[in-house]
């Protein structure tokens, strides 16, 4: 699961930026036409969509697993290490054991596809003002109680409408519609790693880059192999305590922190989102610990986005995160020495702009998911004081 809301859902659910989402959905729908890929999940009756799918064309042997005795397998994709018996599926629901061979059921099985501003991922320091052809399959390797896209992330592939989009087709669509990137997002790209890898290869051949929006809950080898093909990564760091990960996410914190360190060593451009959930992960000490860890392990220049929670899925009993809480989180992270701390899901808030950490002048102004002003030059420096601003600012 990741925190990026799919466009079709957002037009109905997200009260904050409905216009932006709707514009995006309409624009992409109009541009791509009905014949090229399916309407997003929820727009097509469940059963009819499910029946229309031919499972065989989406089924490929998985890459990350080991065979065990008695036709069992152990999945090596994520730290969960599901031991899966014959005819059974792993926790993610999209990988199945057939006679001791493990298969992914979601290769090229796209259940959501949109053209989104890259700021929606959010990636703020990576090709601002461009669009990303954004795709997802069903499934997730955790079960966040606040998931905004639970209807696809927590479903099995056969339960939701999907359409076949091969890696080369995805690359072609991105090029055709002037998207410099393909984004793997909405559900949890970890679980469709094979499709992500093949698509990244096809996209690179076509001159299109790849970015991923992920929970980072992966094993070291799968992370290196799969996300090694990515050009930028956004990690949803759900909290900074193991207890939250256990109770709210159904996962673990440490492997995610390990992934962030690995991505740093791999030299991948990485941004972090922290969804602030009232009463569950909004403690000052947690914010402080998070900021200190990032500075010590990743450096002060990694963008950190504190985003606003909205009641959803299994956490409908909690209120929207107060803006004051987000501002408190930002103030703590700023004070700890992080240079690029943003506030997300609060349209019009000044903390969604990028400022030079040296002269404090505004360098990128954002309105909704649009970069309305971009002053950083091709040399990636502040035009006022020439301070270097980390990121990939121009294609």
């Amino acid at each position: 699961m990741n925190c990026e809301l799919i466009a079709a859902e957002s037009s109905a659910r997200n009260p904050l930026d409905r216009r932006s989402f709707l514009m995006c959905a309409l624009a992409s729908g109009a541009a791509l036409g009905a014949g090229e890929f399916a309407a997003p999940a929820g727009a097509v009756p469940l059963a009819s969509g499910a029946q229309a799918q031919n499972d065989a064309q989406f089924t490929f042997e998985a890459k990350f697993y080991e065979k065990l005795a008695n036709r069992k397998i152990k999945c090596k994709l994520c730290p969960r290490e599901c031991v899966v018996g014959d005819k059974e599926r792993g926790y993610c629901g999209v990988r199945e054991n057939h006679g001791g061979v493990y298969y992914t059921l979601v290769h090229s099985r796209v259940c959501a596809a949109h053209i989104d501003p890259i700021e929606k991922k959010p990636l703020f320091h990576y090709l601002p003002g461009t669009n990303a052809f954004s795709i997802a399959t069903a499934g997730c390797n955790v079960n966040c109680k606040f998931c905004q896209n639970w209807d696809i992330s927590q479903s099995r592939p056969e339960e939701i409408p999907a359409q076949y989009i091969s890696p080369h087709q995805a690359a072609d669509i991105a090029r055709k519609y002037d998207c410099p990137t393909i984004a793997y997002t909405y559900s949890e790209p970890v679980v469709f790693a094979e499709y992500l890898m093949d698509t990244a290869d096809a996209a690179h051949e076509a001159g299109v880059r790849s970015i991923v929006v992920s929970n980072g809950y992966m094993q070291h080898d799968s992370l290196e192999q799969a996300y090694g093909k990515m050009d930028a990564v956004k990690i949803d760091l759900k909290a900074f305590t193991e207890s939250y990960y256990a109770k709210v996410v159904t996962g673990q914190l440490k492997p995610v922190l390990d992934s962030l360190v690995t991505l740093r060593k791999m030299g991948k451009w990485t941004e972090i989102v922290y969804l602030v959930v009232p009463s569950l992960n909004d403690d000052d000490e947690e914010f402080r610990g998070l900021a200190r860890w990032i500075k010590a392990n990743l450096g002060p220049d990694v963008p950190l986005h504190f985003t606003q929670f909205h009641p959803e899925y299994l956490l409908k009993n909690l209120p929207i995160t107060p803006v004051s809480t987000l501002e408190r989180a930002k103030a703590i992270a700023d004070a700890e020495g992080l240079h690029y701390v943003y506030i997300g899901n609060v349209p019009g808030h000044p903390a969604q702009n990028t400022y030079c950490p040296q002269c404090r002048k505004m360098l990128v102004e954002r309105v909704g998911f649009t970069a309305s002003k971009m002053l950083i030059g091709k040399d990636s420096t502040c035009p006022y004081c020439r301070h270097s601003i980390p990121g990939i600012w121009h294609a």
């Binding site: 469940l46 031991v83 018996g85 056969e158 339960e159 159904t250």
Partner: protein, 347 residues
């Protein structure tokens, strides 16, 4: 330590079965005894050594005699309600479950293919008896998660018309809204929510590599859209939490566990080398008590085959005790509160 535990469990089961045998004979001494046992949950273990006798192999053949199976079912139901064995009571027992005007869904288990799925003849016999009790054929639906799996298990798919309906949730989908209790948040099959006043659970008896055993309670995983999320920690407390949801709890009236063929190891997929012909049925209105009883049968077979207990393998089905705890209260897993009634013969 393990041996002691084994002995203890075996001796417990022996006590239960011995007591049950005493209870089961001669139409049961009803009245005071039945009332005294009112706080107990009744689990009927009905077995017929000649169930597969049609091929003259004294119960070890492959073909189940449908007529004997039906008789076994009828006897089990009368025993469940402590009714004397008469033709009228054969119908009366079913009227305690459903009657005219009810819509009845029969949740089978077909994951294991023809080797270890709910027996088609058993389901047909249940439908026949329900019709005798007044339920219209068109108001019954036999279902599981997936239509193709049902076909592979031998069910003939029927959609529409006045016959008993038979298809999987994939044909109608799941509710859009979530139902949540404790650790569980799931979307239910529309078959359950829209076509069931009464739910009859028809699981099989088998070992499960993660959960320990899968019998009645866990068969409800086939009613929701996301069962894969509920396998960690031996399915505990997920199985119990799921069965707390009103969509299940308010409808569940009866469990008939098909133990004609059972598996003591290697489940949930069918492993013929780990299956045995138990030639029986387990019937109860308390799914927790039935699961507990079925678990003991599997443990007894494991001991017979020289295997460790599920506890020793660190996969004892803890969810059964959770389902019985004070928070859930779904039934009994305390041997002192379960009346196991063993009956023999399907003639």
């Amino acid at each position: 330590m393990t041996d002691l535990r084994n002995r203890s469990r075996r001796s417990f089961l022996t006590r239960c079965l011995t007591g049950a045998a005493a209870l089961g004979v001669a139409g049961l001494r009803e009245g005071g005894e039945a009332q005294a046992a009112a706080a107990k949950s009744r689990v009927v273990v009905a077995r017929d050594p000649l169930l597969r006798s049609s091929d003259s192999t004294r119960g070890s053949g492959s073909t189940i005699d449908a007529r004997r199976l039906e008789t076994l079912l009828v006897n089990a139901m009368q025993s469940l309600f402590s009714l004397p064995a008469t033709h009228e009571n054969g119908i009366a027992a079913w009227r305690r479950i459903a009657g005219a005007g009810d819509t009845v869904s029969l949740k089978v288990n077909t994951l294991g293919g023809r080797g270890i799925s709910t027996n088609v003849d058993l389901v047909a016999a249940v439908c026949e008896r329900l019709q005798q009790a007044g339920v219209a054929a068109r108001n019954m639906i036999v279902w599981d998660r997936d239509t193709e799996e049902m076909e592979r298990a031998g069910f003939r798919i029927v959609i529409g018309g006045d016959r008993v309906q038979c298809f999987g949730t994939d044909r109608v989908g799941y509710e859009d809204d979530l139902s949540a209790w404790g650790s569980v948040g799931s979307r239910f099959s529309k078959i359950l929510t829209r076509s069931s006043d009464v739910l009859i659970n028809l699981p099989v008896l088998k070992d499960h590599d993660g959960a320990g055993v899968t019998i009645a309670l866990k068969n409800m995983y086939g009613t929701i859209h996301n069962p894969n999320k509920y396998h960690p920690n031996g399915c505990d407390p997920y199985v119990a939490d799921l069965n707390m949801l009103p969509e299940i709890r308010s409808r569940m009236k009866l469990t008939i566990c098909d133990a004609t063929t059972a598996m003591y190891e290697g489940g949930p997929g069918f492993k013929p080398e780990h299956s045995w012909k138990l030639n029986g049925l387990l019937v109860s209105q308390d799914a927790v008590a039935l699961d507990f009883t079925g678990w003991q049968l599997i443990e007894r077979k494991r001991a017979e085959m020289g295997l460790k207990t599920l506890e020793a393998e660190q996969r004892a089905p803890r969810y059964i005790a959770t389902a019985a705890d004070s928070e859930h209260g779904l039934g009994h897993c305390d041997a002192a509160r379960i009346a196991v009634v063993e009956i023999q013969g399907g003639a």
